[in-house]
Amino acid sequence: MAEYNMHILVCGGTGCKASQSELIKTNFKTRLNEFGLTDEIQVVLTGCFGFCEKGPIVKILPDNTFYTQVTPEDVSEIVEEHIIKGRKVERLLYKDPETKAAIGDAKGMDFYKKQIRIALRNCGFINPENIEEYIGRDGYAALGTCLSEKTPDEVIQMIKDSGLRGRGGGGFPTGLKWDLTRKSESDQKYVVCNADEGDPGAFMDRSILEGDPHSVLEAMAICGYCIGADKGLVYIRAEYPLAIERLKIAINQAREYGLLGNDILGAGFNFDVEIRYGAGAFVCGEETALIHSMEGKRGEPTVKPPFPAEKGYNGKPTNVNNVETFANIPVIINKGAEWFASIGTANSKGTKVFALAGKINNVGLIEVPMGITLREIIYDIGGGIKDGREFKAVQTGGPSGGCLTKSFLDTPIDYDNLVAAGSMMGSGGMIVLDDTDCMVAIAKFYLEFTLDESCGKCAPCRIGNKRLHEILEKITVGDGKIEDLDRLRMLSTVIKDTSLCGLGQTSPNPVLSTLDHFYDEYLAHVTSHKCVAGQCKALMHYSIDAERCTGCTLCFRNCPVGAISGERRAPHYIDQSLCIKCGVCFEKCKFDAVLIA
């Protein structure tokens, strides 16, 4: 990158691409060409910057200018003002949500201040389709170090010392997993990268593969060296076309550079990587189900043991790690286990990528040190709750995680604390809820997902989750009874206790944690048939305040079921037996005469 004076980084993540970031890049190139600047200024389509809320993002180096919500039409202005005249385009700069002041340097953005980027180190910095850029940022140095200076056992010891734990959900110590697979004797072993990211809202694995695919390939090769495997497989869902494309380019480039294939770096080590496509089943993130899917069988889990480390793909010892886990490996080798272990808490080392979503100002992808508090994430990095509403809870760990309330805002986040709080790390989904979210409806929403994604193999998950969902449905439409709350809890406990795989063992978590923390809300639904958040439509009661009603007939004319009657210029009236609670009258009334209770 040294030969250029200036770099224009355009986000090429899936979100920004959908907002025409490729056209933005093309426009930059065209304009720069017109000014004869193509030799001095480089335009790079990078991976995701994480700040998806304000995409498409354009970052200009070396002055670190961070432009948000850039359109292809804005390009001319940026080139003419910023590039030519050296004046930043104010209106496109990120504005501090509180002071409303434009921030010229990305380093001044709260969104990035508390982040430490290890797994995402290259996302938003390099062109993921150019291996030279990866190599330019120490890429493949770790593989070189391992092959030339370290024995497999030494590398495994380093990973163990670093304290790295699986980032896919289980949190199993990565070094130990490698060691177990290394110790299994076999003529053939496999390294599998689990890129079957399935949590709704989570997209860290996709971002890494789109923004920095070589970091995963390098780590897989290191893993292969350690466990004694010459074959790596990336199991990736077919819904990630961009990630697949970049991964394919990366694999080909790595082969051309002799970083994959036979006799890598002249060290006599052979390793190559193939891609396997998944059809997008959440349960295939479970490693035994994933392996069955790769074998061409139905993607459903089997009982462990045997663990994949003993009997995995094609019955051979297989080490399965998640994308984010792999992305940490080269950095640990380069910077040392001690450095990595210095970040985080006692039993959770390093950083974790979270996908921030829901009622939060800065929706996006963040990487933070373990031990950070929810408050820091939500208020400092996330910019607080949308529309200035009140924080109610945050759902972590994806569909099988739990909801954490205000009382956990200052709890340091790590694997163990999240479990102790009734949730889990999962793959790092974080959905923020405000006071307009009904917790019963939220539990129902998550259960709907697991219900859809259950493979149906074991009875408690197949039928139990269906029954849980039915009870929740009953409650949200006002047919719930007080004994249903006990029933929910008892059934949830049995499902957790008896299900075959992690999906069923955790699917009742949203139910149990909302029952624990928001019991009053459940109680209001079943006893007084009220939804305090005003989300459960069936529980709402629409009426017209005769004092305020002017008899304009707007509600009467818009009611889809003819439930409203009344003379012109006289108060109107809603027939409750006909009302379907669609809310149109409420929206249409200009005099606030429609009341909701």
Partner: protein, 583 residues
């Protein structure tokens, strides 16, 4: 052998490494209930998906409950099988299964034989606390098997049989979550699939999800029709199992009582498929010798090994899976069809009844026989050679409908001329029997000498694949035996690759042969039952005066009066068939 020490319900137990908790418990008299689990001992058939979760137990130090059927016992394990946590979980799981299961037990084909019903009873379930929506699937009827998959509990036993044991690959889990069910690909109908109708799925289904097509009503109507003469034939394996339906121990031979019951049901003539089995040996044995002689004379075009063709599921299997080899199996029809063909020609003429007015009913241990009798090549002008093929289980229902106290029946004899048979015919009912019967006859015809011994122990047993070399007076004849279509596939692949060492191969689709057929009384996973039936078959053979098919005087008479000689033109027309490419 490494030994493992553990405690189960505070009782110490020592087991070999690799033993499951379920087995360890049962070794000290702790009977952990199971539902999806099934193991046929010594037959290499096991289904343990760990799916039903009924067998869960508490393991000290483990976060959740463990399925006993697929959890290996480890050193120092402390297991509790009936704590309140376990009992509550077990009952809840069964309640959940029941909540998604039609409650039509009173009229279910499986009532009384249903393992889910038994489980509910066993656990004392009186109430289903979690009621809700039930799965709704369409019913699928084929010539032999009915799939009522609203009753499927996803135990996957049928899948194990269809895929792992039979390698037919029709049944597998489809859909996800609450909609998950076992079905053919794309939920197509069974009769559009490559199903062989072997019926092993039906034999192991714990509920009424898979049952046979019930033809008892049609048989009752025929019996009550004064214009019809209704005759019946009974397959050899039926007599070794029918008693189980009436509470008699497995392995009780009930030939005489069965004949008496059929006579009381109103059949005009009670005949024996064994007669046709002897006839099959004459035809198939002659075919074997013809091919062998040509081969030995140096004919390069002759097809060897010859494969038996009595088993209709096996026939359908190779028509679908190995159509290029359809000229290798013997062209001899199965005993059921030979019987039908002779009955509706030779016998109908003899008693002066028109073909249309003669109804042939067969009692079979088999579901594929229903399909076989419906094959168009086995009918004349739309009139089938065999009108109805009932299973052993259906016969038991008929006997019940006839208010017959089966156990107190006297022993009666078959009618003649189609009721006489030899011991060679009886052993058709077990794996290895057809080829032993063929050897008994072929040897004597080939060598022109009497057999030095009749019992060929080397051809018997329960191993899925067996082989033996029989010395035909100086000429070694290599015999192969396979039961279970997965085993058959291995032999066929060898033939395909040109690596087969055999001159003749017997193939039976069902594990154990016909004694383990899909129409037999349910064995509920107890392989001992099959072994007892096998012993009963061999004992009937041993007690027969005539034990070689060519010695059956009525067979000799049939050839003299009607067919001429084995493989004659008439025999070809009536007793042989051709196969179709169904790939």
């Amino acid at each position: 052998m490494e030994m493992i020490n553990l405690t189960i319900d505070q009782k110490p137990v020592v087991v070999r490494k690799g033993t499951t908790v379920l087995k360890a418990a049962s070794s000290i008299g702790i009977d952990i209930p199971t539902l999806c689990y099934m193991k046929l001992d010594d037959m290499n058939i096991e289904n343990k998906p760990g799916g039903c979760r009924v067998c869960v137990v508490e393991v000290k130090g483990r976060r959740n409950l463990a399925p006993a059927c697929c959890t290996e016992a480890t050193e120092g394990m402390e297991i509790s099988t009936h704590t309140i946590r376990v009992v509550n979980a077990r009952r809840t799981v069964v309640e959940l299964i029941l909540s998604d299961h039609p409650a039509d037990c009173l009229i279910c084909a499986k009532s009384g034989n249903c393992e889910l019903q038994d489980m509910a009873h066993h656990l004392g379930i009186r109430q289903i606390h979690y009621q809700g929506e039930q799965s709704m699937y369409r019913e699928d009827t084929s010539p032999a098997i009915i799939r009522e998959i609203n009753k499927c509990i996803m135990c996957r036993r049928c899948e194990t049989m269809c895929n792992d044991v039979q390698t037919v690959g029709v049944l597998s889990a489809v859909n996800r979550g609450f909609q998950a069910v076992v079905a053919p690909a794309f939920e197509m109908n069974l009769d559009h699939s490559v199903c062989t109708y072997c019926g092993q799925c039906v034999a192991v289904c714990p509920t009424g999800a898979l049952t046979e097509v019930d033809e008892t009503g049609a048989v009752i109507r025929a019996l009550s029709d004064p214009t019809k003469t209704v005759i019946v034939q009974t397959a050899p394996a039926v007599r070794a199992a029918l008693g189980e339906e009436f509470g008699m121990p497995a392995g009780t031979l009930v030939t005489g009582k069965m004949v008496a019951a059929l006579r009381r049901l109103g059949f005009d003539h009670v005949f024996d498929t064994d007669f046709a089995a002897d006839l099959t040996i004459m035809e198939e044995g002659t075919e074997l010798l013809t091919r062998l002689s040509a081969y030995m004379a140096g004919d390069q075009n002759v097809k060897l090994p010859i494969l038996t063709s009595c088993c209709p599921a096996w026939v359908k299997f190779f028509e679908h899976q190995f159509p290029e080899m359809k000229d290798i199996p013997s062209t001899a029809r199965s005993p059921q069809q030979m019987f039908g063909s002779i009955a509706k020609t030779y016998f109908a003429d003899k008693i002066g009844v028109k073909r249309e007015n003669l109804v042939v009913v067969s009692i079979m241990p088999c579901l594929a026989k229903k399909y076989e009798s419906s094959r168009p090549e086995f009918s004349v002008n739309g009139n089938p050679d065999v009108d109805f093929a009932l299973t052993t289980r259906e016969l038991a229902h008929l006997i019940n409908l006839g208010n017959i106290d089966f156990k107190s029946l006297p022993n009666e004899e078959f009618d003649q001329p189609l009721g006489e048979s030899t011991g060679a015919a009886v052993i058709f009912g077990t794996t290895g029997g057809v080829i032993e019967a063929a050897v008994r006859t072929a040897y004597e015809i080939f060598t022109g000498k009497p057999l030095p011994r009749i019992d060929f122990e080397e051809l018997r047993g329960m191993d899925g694949l067996r082989k033996a070399t029989i010395d035909f007076n100086g000429t070694p004849i290599n015999i192969g035996i396979a039961h279970g279509l997965g085993n058959a596939r291995k032999l066929l692949e060898d033939i395909q690759a040109g690596n087969s060492e055999f001159h003749a191969i017997e193939i039976m689709s069902c594990p154990g042969g016909c004694i383990g057929g899909g129409g037999q009384p349910y064995h509920h996973g107890d392989a001992e039952i099959l072994k007892k039936r096998q012993r009963a078959i061999y004992s009937e053979d041993k007690n027969k005066t005539l034990r070689k098919s060519h010695e059956n005087p009525y067979i000799t008479k049939l050839y003299d009066e009607f067919l001429g000689a084995p493989m004659s033109e008439k025999a070809h027309h009536l007793l042989h068939t051709k196969y179709f490419d169904r790939s």
